[in-house]
């Protein structure tokens, strides 16, 4: 296990000895086994792993959607494992942006309104227009999800996630439902947003090629972190092929 500290960067989120045990009927599943993780301010971290490696579980716990069985998760100096449901909701509301494989847009709201849904409840957000411009959708703001392609829907989801200026942006297989070309477009949007807004970003993927675009690549297998790589330079998304 690699556990290297970089003193020049601020740690935004830090997990120690995280364990997650599921009871699936009579079988106990150890989804996470003593996982340590640090996310640094402004970094783009890629969590790589096959299905069942525990990467989604880890993301859900650091995103405040799930609670660890043991271990600690600190967001700055706040211990997430000690928060109530209401406080976790507030944590998500103010600090975390989510992007999912299946965009999960609200079908009854336009692109602009989907973003506004989040900005309405945030402190000091971007305007929906700014956020949509960041993802290159300024011309499609008043379209409903049913009028947008898959890639466009995912970009709306990204705009929605970043509009609140989250401290952490968590993306769970953001290209999973997209073709290569659209997938690359979405990744370049994430890359660009990360560079422009310096939002700490974590992308989950099973696609090894995507690892090149991150500052840090963490490989997981069977609920454990098996490798941590720091890239000297981030590969341009255009150059990634899969």
């Amino acid at each position: 296990m690699v556990n290297q500290m970089l003193p020049d960067k601020e740690v935004i989120l830090s997990a120690r000895k995280l364990c997650k045990v599921y009871l699936m009927g009579e079988v106990t599943v150890n989804a996470l086994k003593n996982v340590d993780l640090d996310l640094y301010k402004g970094d783009l971290t890629v969590l790589l792993g096959a299905s069942g490696s525990g990467k989604s579980t880890l993301l859900n716990i650091i995103g405040g959607l799930d609670v660890a069985s043991s271990g600690s998760v600190f967001y700055l100096d706040q211990d997430l494992s000690k928060l109530t449901d209401r406080e976790l909701t507030n944590y998500r509301r103010l600090n975390v942006g989510f992007v999912f494989q299946f965009y999960n847009l609200i079908s009854s709201l336009t692109a602009r309104e989907n973003v506004a849904l989040v900005t309405d409840i945030s402190i000091d957000p971007m305007t929906p227009e700014e956020a949509l411009e960041l993802v290159g959708l300024q011309g499609r703001m008043d379209h409903f999800p049913s009028q947008l392609s898959g890639g466009e829907q995912q970009r709306v989801a990204i705009a929605r996630a970043i509009a609140k200026r989250p401290k952490i942006l968590l993306c769970d297989e953001p290209t999973g439902a997209l073709d290569v070309k659209t997938g690359k477009l979405v990744l370049s949007v994430l890359d660009q947003v990360n560079r422009q807004t310096e939002t700490t970003t974590a992308i989950i993927t099973h696609n090894v090629a995507i690892g090149g675009m991150g500052d840090v690549v963490i490989r997981m297998s069977s609920g454990e972190v098996v490798e941590r790589i720091e890239n000297e330079t981030r590969t341009n998304v255009e150059e990634i092929e899969w």
């Binding site: 859900n60 103010l94 609200i106 709201l109 309104e113 989040v118 409840i121 409903f144 999800p145 049913s146």
Partner: protein, 787 residues
């Protein structure tokens, strides 16, 4: 068990809340038919059976006195099948208590054997024995009210002479199913009884040896009733005939019939509305429920199940819900039907009356529900099986939305994101939203009907017993007395005011139309009894001419200013003319009012009165009653307060069951619609709502989004329901116009408020149940699954 059946069983269990609420709607629909329609059918069949068994007469002919020899003349009238006669009189009963003096109507039985017509049914004890002059059979209700049993003795005052009789039995008869004392409007079983005795006693006692004062006949099937009545009147005229009348005018029959008629509304119309609502809901709810299973349907098809197998599988959801509801509804309906009949049984003496359910009725109710359920299920299943299986393998396309009309006219800016989502969801499925609203509206309407019944009866009671009948005591004299009796009455203990009245049976004729009524001669400036119309306004007693009920005016097709022929049916039997000076809306009976002076001059009789209204000092009421009992001229003493009590008691029983039923039914519908709509929304939009939670929306905020839609549907439904309810109340009022009573069309504001409040409570309760489920949502699970 096949895997697909295991799936069915488990999913039924999983959806148990929804299945139960659908089953309850079915149960209510079937229960209403089984209970109300079933009771109505039982009542009608008991009536027919009773009439035929007791050989109920077709025409009655009261008269003063005629020799028995006249019977053969009556028998000779064409169209007459059988003739019977009897002697009947009112008498005071001396019952050893300080209450209002009780009255008895003596009715003669043949010396040997049973009456040819209008037979009685002995309920307890035995029939009178031949040659036993002191034996009497009393009416069952009176016996029950007064705790008389066969073997007891009863003291009566016949022709001013006290006499003790042996009670040998209790009985009932269709003529007195509904025993109303003279001067009263409702049966008062503890004050008024029927006493059947041998003609041997009654003949001599009333100076009726070898004579009769009432005849009745049955008609042959081809008879012309009007011609027979005319012929009877002609024959009896010289003997003081008081005007023959058909069965339709016989009081007990009339009341029973109008009660049956009003029951036809509740027995036939209302259950049909209920059933219709239930069927409609089944269509709606099952359709949506199955729509949420779209993905599963496609996956089953992908596995190779045929459309037919998939369709049958999902139809089973409908069938299980309907069968479950049907069984509950039938069992509940049988119990409730028994209770319903129990109420009627106390009210009417119909010996064969018992609740019986016809299989065809049950079959009809069941089929309607099954059809509704299957209709909804088939439509939904068909939509689902038309979907190529591959579609379910892909993430579902977002539903198509566009700004609705509300936003196009610019109202959208007033709404936040939550408001817009709610509005667009409603506008995207306007038909579904409307029908959901309609479903809730129907329950509002049903509640409105229920409370309306209270309103209108309250209004009627208030008008009758507080505005019209303001006397404390109504006296009926055994025979007419000179008007100066008022001075004697004034001297009785505790009497503050006396107003006398004269009532005369008469036939009003206009063109070829005629109607027999009782003309009430009233004091022109009376304070105790006034003419009051349906709005509560006093109508002055005209110095000449008649004021009549609007229903009577309709029957005779007369209006104010018309001149009718008045044929007095008593005394000198004058036949003159009178002008209709007023037509009033009223609720009880077919009334005809005149000033007492005008009536005297019309009938040509000296100043005589039939009775008096008294205002009395409440503290000395017992003394007055005791004194009145000693006055042989007074046969009837009625008190509006007592009448009101008995009326309200009768009503309370009947209405409580009815209102309870309506209330339960309306709540089941409201909960059925709202709970199901919210549950279905929840499963249709689970991902959306979970996304909002992930984005940091609190539970409460998400709940508002989901339940806001139901709130809008409910709020829209309330005025719609009021409107429908108002219309249905009108229909019920219009179809309940009988000669005995009309229902005032009065819907109090309270009724609207109460019905809305109950629906809101039902809606909030359903919402809270759904919210609990929403709170238990596993966010990650919902987001990970594709639908």
């Amino acid at each position: 068990m096949l895997a697909i059946n295991k799936k069915l069983v488990r999913e039924l269990w999983h959806l148990k809340g929804q299945v139960a609420s659908i089953a309850l709607v079915v149960a209510s629909g079937i229960m209403s038919v089984v209970t109300m329609r079933g009771s109505y059918d039982s009542l009608v069949s008991a009536q027919q059976q009773y009439y035929s068994e007791s050989r109920f007469a077709d025409v009655w002919a009261p008269l003063v006195r005629a020799p028995l020899a006249l019977v053969s003349k009556l028998e000779a009238i064409p169209g007459v099948d059988a003739v019977d006669t009897r002697v009947t009189f009112l008498a005071t009963l001396d019952l050893d208590d300080s209450g209002i003096p009780a009255q008895g109507r003596f009715v003669s039985l043949p010396e040997i054997g049973h009456p040819k017509l209008n037979d009685i049914v002995v309920r307890e004890g035995r029939y009178i024995a031949v040659g036993a002059p002191d034996e009497v059979i009393i009416s069952e209700n009176f016996a029950l009210a007064r705790n008389f049993v066969p073997g007891d003795r009863i003291k009566v005052i016949i022709n001013g002479r006290s006499r003790e009789l042996d009670i040998v039995g209790t009985a009932i008869s269709p003529e007195h199913s509904y025993a109303v004392p003279p001067g009263s409007l409702y049966p008062e079983d503890d004050r008024y009884g029927i006493l059947w005795a041998s003609r041997e006693i009654l003949g001599p006692a009333f100076d009726m040896d070898g004579a009769f004062n009432e005849a009745f006949v049955t008609l042959t099937p081809d008879a012309n009733p009007a011609a027979v009545i005319d012929a009877i009147d002609t024959i009896l005229d010289p003997y003081g005939g008081l005007g023959a009348y058909p069965r339709e005018d016989q009081v007990s029959h009339l009341i029973l019939q109008s009660e049956l008629d009003s029951n036809r509304v509740t027995g036939a119309i209302i259950p049909l509305i209920f059933l219709g609502v239930a069927v409609f809901l089944l269509y709606l709810v099952l359709g949506r429920l199955i729509s949420t299973q779209r993905g599963e349907i496609a996956i089953m098809k992908a596995f190779g199940y045929s459309d037919r197998e998939v369709g049958a599988h999902f139809l089973m959801f409908a069938v299980v819900a309907v069968l479950l509801g049907g069984v509950i509804g039938t069992i509940g309906g049988l119990f409730l039907g028994d209770a319903y009949i129990g109420v009627y049984d106390q009210y009417f003496d119909l010996p064969g009356l018992e609740y019986q359910l016809t299989p065809s009725l049950l079959f009809f109710a069941f089929s309607a529900c099954v059809l509704g359920a299957i209709g909804g299920a088939v439509a939904a299943v068909r939509r689902a099986v038309l979907l190529p299986p591959a579609e379910a393998m892909r993430p579902e396309m977002p539903a198509t939305f566009k700004p609705g009309p509300m936003e196009q006219i610019g109202l959208g800016y007033l709404l936040g994101a939550t408001g817009r989502m709610i509005l667009r969801n409603l506008e995207r499925k306007p038909v579904q939203s409307f029908f959901s609203s309609l479903g809730v509206a129907l329950s509002v309407a049903i509640l409105t009907i229920g409370f309306f019944m209270f309103d209108s009866i309250n209004y009627m009671v208030d008008l009758q017993f507080r505005q019209i009948q303001r006397e404390d005591v109504t006296l009926t004299f055994r025979e007419i007395l000179p008007d100066r009796v008022r001075y004697d009455l004034n001297h009785l203990q505790g009497v503050n005011r006396v107003e006398t009245y004269r009532v005369l049976p008469a036939r009003l004729r206009f063109g070829h139309l005629e109607k027999e009524v009782v003309i009430q001669g009233m004091e022109p400036f009376g304070r105790l009894r006034r003419i009051v119309n349906s709005k509560g306004y006093e109508i002055p007693v005209p110095s000449s001419g008649l004021v009549i009920s609007s229903l009577l005016a309709q029957r005779l097709k007369v209006t104010s200013g018309d001149e009718v022929i008045v044929e007095i049916l008593e005394g000198k039997r004058n036949k003159t003319q009178a002008v209709i000076t007023g037509v009033i809306e009223d609720f009880l009976g077919l009334s005809a009012y005149m000033s007492i002076d005008a009536l005297w001059s019309l009938s040509g009789e000296p100043n005589v009165v039939s009775g008096a209204y008294l205002a009395i000092d409440g503290q000395r009421v017992d003394d007055l009653y005791a004194e009145l009992k000693e006055v042989p001229a007074v046969t009837g003493v009625a008190s509006p307060a007592t009448m009101l009590e008995s009326f309200e008691e009768q009503l309370a029983r009947g209405i409580l069951i009815g209102a309870g039923f309506l209330l339960g039914f309306a709540c089941v519908i409201a909960v059925g619609v709202i709970y199901n709509a919210a549950r279905i929304s929840l499963s249709e939009r689970g991902r959306e709502l979970a996304s909002l939670r992930v984005m940091g929306f609190q539970r409460r905020e998400v709940a508002i989004l989901l339940l806001g839609e139901q709130a809008v549907i409910t709020l829209f439904a309330i005025p719609l329901g009021w409107l429908i309810g108002y219309g249905l109340c009108y229909v019920i009022t219009a179809s309940l116009q009988t000669d005995i009573y009309r229902i005032p069309f009065i819907v109090e504001p309270r009724t609207y408020i109460l019905s809305a409040m109950l629906i809101v409570i039902a809606a909030v309760a359903s919402g809270l149940v759904v919210r609990r489920r929403l709170d238990g949502f596993a966010l990650v699970e919902v987001l990970k699954t594709r639908e």
